[in-house]
Point group: C2
Chain length 97, copies 2
DNA sequence: ACCATAGGCAAGCACCTGCTTGCATGACAA
DNA sequence: TTGTCATGCAAGCAGGTGCTTGCCTATGGT
């Protein structure tokens, strides 16, 4: 079940970008990162060269798809992975064993 | 495991289009359809209005992603769904129960 | 107060993508 | 062969997407 306001197409579109998939990888490996933590680790561990604004925009897309949840604390914003929308994929087509 | 020549990004990009997802739905429901069968059923059952060329190009993308396999018989080309590449998604992120 | 830090907003731009359009190829029937 | 049916190929175009650039807001430390 998708959260209210999240369209199925948003999930698939969000997954279509390699940088966004790397962000999901990073958040799975280390949950609750801030924007700057993410940028640093994306560069050092995934070889990406994305700027702050680029990563920020990707996070907006991921959040719009329900794949990333956020919480604010002071001037920090922490990001967490939410894989629930991926059920839209696994429940839709029978995956051969 | 993905077939040789299929990149992970191709699978995600292929899934990013709603018409292509409808094609996968159709092939799951009825395997081995020709191009014209697909067009007819996409229109009548999914409310789409895609032309032959549009669907043909979508099938190329899906085949390039390994999600659709084809076999030729005379002047007919039959299409089948192959969900194996979807493991690239389910194996990558832990999906919460 | 002052400044640095963490993040947000928005316009502009180059590239990509899906679709159309028109023509071509190959298989089968009469 | 002639015609038709199923499909393939390729150029062009409009809209979308990812990214940059520049400026702004807000929080917390000193």
């Amino acid at each position: 079940m998708l959260a209210y306001g999240v369209r199925v197409g948003d999930v698939f579109k969000a997954l279509a970008d390699p940088t966004r998939r790397a962000i999901l990888d990073e958040l799975q490996e280390r949950s609750g990162q801030t924007l700057f933590e993410l940028i640093t680790r994306l560069i050092s561990r995934h070889g990406l060269t994305s700027t702050r604004q680029a990563v920020s925009q990707h996070l907006e897309v991921l959040e719009g798809a329900g794949l990333v949840r956020t919480r604010r604390e002071g001037r920090y914003k922490f990001h967490e992975l939410d894989t629930a929308p991926l059920r839209a994929i696994t429940d839709r087509w029978r995956i051969d064993p």
